[in-house]
């Protein structure tokens, strides 16, 4: 599924990723934890193709397809989805319009028919209900004036609507209240399947109680410095990142 080989990337001449190697097979959920500034969001941006990041070495592929050679929208059409740590506001574009435009663009790119308006609305109503999102909110400018938690919920709603093949969740739990965390996690778990993979970036064990990872990795100073089973997250919560500081340096 997702294969990352010795990935190096920099921003404005500052090296951030210094040789990340990671494999997430189909059907698995991997968690990435690590101190602030380690490069977790950078990894998610490099994988999705945000401008301003220069890949200086290494490779990344999804189902054997070279991601780095594709435009961001082409990567999305291949099924790559990023739930942003800081979702953007899109003034004047209602959430429903935005998502329908995205869904149809992805379908066109894959040579599929566009979704008809009634089928789209039905799907949107279903998904909004399951995420306890007020349907009226979907008629407002996307994320404009939404609270931090509402924006995160909207990310998961978009994910549910687009049903991507590979999900990257960048601190989706931050800003969510206790109930919202549960609802959002259920939304994510509903997408777990033998064909899908997920990379879950988080600082807190709590999210991993709901979205149970198969593997946990520690990213520090631009490298994966430790990997283990779910117990690694518990150990990090108890001990912090101190012992990886030397490994990273």
């Amino acid at each position: 599924m997702l294969n990352i080989q010795n990935l190096h990337a920099r921003v404005e001449d500052k090296a951030i990723l210094k040789g990340v190697t990671l494999d997430v097979p189909a059907g698995e959920v991997h968690a990435i934890m690590g101190p602030n500034g380690a490069g977790k969001s950078t990894l998610s941006y490099v994988l999705t193709g945000r401008g301003g990041y220069e890949v200086t070495e290494g490779a990344a592929s999804l189902n054997g397809e070279d991601l780095l050679a594709l435009e961001p929208n082409e990567r999305a059409a291949k099924g790559l989805f990023l739930s942003f740590q800081y979702p953007l506001e899109i003034p004047g574009v209602p959430a429903l319009t935005f998502i329908r435009t995205a869904l149809n663009a992805q379908r066109r790119a894959r040579g599929e028919d566009e979704i008809a308006a009634p089928a789209f609305l039905k799907l949107a109503k279903e998904k909004a209900a399951s995420l306890k999102i007020d349907f009226e909110m979907l008629k407002r400018g996307l994320n404009v004036g939404f609270s931090g938690g509402e924006k995160k919920r909207m990310e998961i709603f978009q994910m549910a609507m687009l049903s991507p093949k590979f999900l990257i969740l960048d601190e989706t739990d931050s800003g969510l209240d206790i109930d919202a965390l549960k609802i959002v996690s259920e939304g994510v778990n509903a997408l777990r399947s033998p064909e899908r993979g997920m990379l879950v970036i988080t600082h807190y064990q709590r999210l991993l109680d709901y979205i149970k990872p198969d593997r946990v990795h520690v990213l520090a100073a631009g490298r994966i410095v430790a990997s283990g089973g779910p117990e690694l997250a518990l150990q990090l919560e108890a001990e912090g990142y101190d012992k990886y500081a030397s490994a990273a340096a």
């Binding site: 401008g51 929208n73 953007l88 506001e89 869904l103 663009a105």
Partner: protein, 344 residues
């Protein structure tokens, strides 16, 4: 001094030039080296215009004149087609509109360039009697090489309401000017506009509102986008004369520049000689939010489509202020088509 007077006298020095303060960004003298022959009477097919209405008035190649009067209390929706049909010729046309007391007019005005490279000036006089209501929607679809001037002189009476929305894709040089004599006296004015310019197109939206009495309101919102080597000009002047107290006037102009070679020149001016007025203006010129574009692309929307979508949303605020529902639909479709989003 105007394009019309230059056409009448054949004297090029009659053309407005950049030495005239109010024309410094829309130089006609420097552009027009020789005056083309006057436009002939046109007998060919003019097709259908962009607006549907029960009544249609047509002026082709400036021939003849339109003189429209609404009796007191009348309500009419009129499509007015001002057509430049013959390439490389010049014409000036006149329109006079009188709207009686309490009458209501929806004026759906289209400037249609069927020929190439013409020179056209249309002068309009619009008079609103007390409590008259006019909504004027202007869709200017000039040919890319045309020179086009639309000059409207509007006079409001007490309690009248005039609302205007200009939609333009520009021309080689294009000036759409609106001057409003505002008596205060609970008359209400809205002057809006959208310009969407690409290639080497130019559009100049100039307005002047003179508040002469107490208790008048004016609200202006113009939004524009320039791409390629296009140039947008906005000049908005609001004059509040001595004694025109309690005037409430707001003016906004906001533009997006989508390329290095495109340009926007804006001059908002508030000249206030009265006390106790509430006047404000805002003027912003910027680019699209690149982070928002990446966000849209991450969701699968191709870059050009993302840019068009955000631009459409940007000018959408002006479209939504159009009151006549069918005209609002025409405006929406025009924006989508200009931005290459007609398939959505």
């Amino acid at each position: 001094m105007s394009l019309a007077s230059a056409l009448k006298t054949g004297d090029l020095t009659e053309l407005p030039s950049r030495r005239d303060e109010d024309w410094r960004w829309t130089d006609l003298r420097g552009l027009i080296r020789t005056l083309p022959p006057l436009s002939p009477k046109f007998e060919g097919d003019i097709g259908v215009g962009p607006f549907a209405a029960d009544e249609t008035l047509t002026l082709v190649n400036g021939q003849g004149a339109i003189d429209l009067t609404l009796a007191a209390g009348e309500t009419r929706v009129i499509s007015m087609r001002l057509i430049s049909a013959t390439a490389a010729t010049a014409h000036a046309g006149r329109v006079r509109i009188t709207v009686g007391e309490g009458a209501r007019l929806t004026l759906l005005e289209s400037h249609e360039g069927l020929g190439e490279g013409y020179l056209s000036e249309i002068a309009l006089d619009i008079h609103l009697a007390s409590d008259a209501v006019v909504e004027r929607i202007v869709l200017a679809s000039d040919a890319p090489e045309a020179v086009s001037v639309v000059d409207a002189e509007v006079a409001l009476s007490a309690g009248a309401r005039f609302a205007q929305t200009l939609l333009t894709s520009g021309a080689r040089r294009q000036r759409i000017e609106t001057r409003v004599a505002h008596p205060g006296a609970h008359a209400d004015l809205r002057l809006d506009g959208i310009y969407l310019l690409d290639g080497q197109r130019h559009a100049d939206l100039t307005t002047q509102v003179t508040h002469a009495g107490v208790d008048g309101t004016t609200s202006q919102l113009t939004k524009g986008m320039v791409a390629d080597q296009a140039r947008g000009v906005f000049q908005g002047r609001i004059i509040v004369q001595p004694g025109a107290d309690q005037t409430d006037a707001r003016m906004g102009h906001h533009a997006l520049i989508l390329s290095d070679k495109a340009e926007v020149d804006a001059k908002p001016e508030l000249l206030i000689f009265a006390d106790d007025v509430s006047c404000a203006h805002g003027n912003t010129i910027g680019a699209l939010d690149e982070q928002a574009i990446f966000y849209a692309r991450q969701r699968g929307i191709p870059e050009m489509e993302a840019r068009a979508m955000l631009t459409e949303a940007f000018v959408g605020e002006v479209v939504e202020r159009i009151e006549h529902e069918p005209a609002r639909e025409v405006a929406r479709a025009w924006v989508a088509q200009r931005l290459g989003r007609s398939n959505i």
